[in-house]
Assembly symmetry: C2
Homo-oligomer: 224 residues x 2
Amino acid sequence: MEVKNKLYQNQGIHVITALFTVEQGVVKVLLIKRKNEPFFGSWVLTGGALYNNESLEEGAYRELKEKTGITNVPIKQVKAFGRVDRSPVMRMVAVAYIGIIDSKRVRLLKESRNTQDADWVPIDQVPKLGYDHNEILDYAVEELRKEIIHSNILKSLFPDGITIPELQKTYEAILKKKFDRRNFRKKILSWNLLEDTNTYQKFEGNKPAKIYKFKEKIEEIDMI
Amino acid sequence: MEVKNKLYQNQGIHVITALFTVEQGVVKVLLIKRKNEPFFGSWVLTGGALYNNESLEEGAYRELKEKTGITNVPIKQVKAFGRVDRSPVMRMVAVAYIGIIDSKRVRLLKESRNTQDADWVPIDQVPKLGYDHNEILDYAVEELRKEIIHSNILKSLFPDGITIPELQKTYEAILKKKFDRRNFRKKILSWNLLEDTNTYQKFEGNKPAKIYKFKEKIEEIDMI
DNA sequence: ACAAAAGTGTTGACTTTACACCCATGG
DNA sequence: CCATGGGTGTAAAGTCAACACTTTTGT
């Protein structure tokens, strides 16, 4: 079908992913630098126009791969953004996703057909981004904070397993909040997200920490 | 800008609202019956194509008004749906909203330019709907269940106030779960959603119940 | 034997659950 | 004065917060 009605002619869909990582207690988001108009030279979240032959999630994955080389990250849809003027070119609605990954395990493509740079940027040092991506990022950070509670979303950050003290640092970085070591351990284990691997992480000169892995499937919780 | 690239030509956005009500302990959703192709004669959720001059939320409101006559309902975005073949006509991505309203307070438009009927249907008696609307509805019901916890979304169902026993029946209907009267009262009051109006609801032959109102603003809660 | 970080247990405060009685109203 | 449903209090169980000591390792 050819769309003729001016009221809804020339619309498109953006699929955008706010991909996070945590490096030494600092939460960072993956940004790319555009090398085309609009927003030539601006930093933006990874994303682009949805193709007709792919689902929203497939589109988000394709864009992530094309522009950053990253594959194999679980992503979760968080919200659609539809301000009339969010794109200067034409009417675009953006569907935003979040994901989290260990930046050290990926080789980040620095340049692609549409990008001239890519980098992990601490979330409190993000510059003014193109489109409405600052708004999307703010929302994405909030969703990330909600999502790590009682979920295994951090599995993709620690595919090989994680010690509880390391995990605590990650929670503290994301939530900007400190926890008591003993109570944190009890709480996180009570969520039944983790399973014991019976292996130990060795550090320099202190007691080795037990390594846990996030389970594939986690339990639902009652809300009331 | 004129879109020429076949990869993302002729795309559109649906804005869809699953509008709920609760009548005598039964949760119902507003459905409309189409009088055009595609899905001529099928029941669907309220919604339609987003215009270029309106935001997603504005589009959802306009469609609700056009097709059912309903205005002045708070709605909340829940998810975007983007299966490639979700519309048989062209590539459409749907952005779904939920809302809840007292069906007795609205005059439901039974017919409009694009609809030949409209009705409130119990959510467990919903027929096969057009498009992917059964999938959207299932998701919407789950979101409604999550949303009523610790939120004032039910304010629009009870704009004039509500007694705690009535509210309990509503929660029980939506969550399909029974609560102890005394504990329900304590829990709901502890959420600080309600304020006392110092008025009483009279029934036939029993103690009048105190009427509360949902507050406009509610408190945030800590997650961990 | 020391430093550094991991691991564990207990007590008191608080929250939640289960449950029974009294109250206001209309008939 | 009875039937109906509204409103309240309390004790026991369970959960959470605060906190200090012991363990393992490398040097």
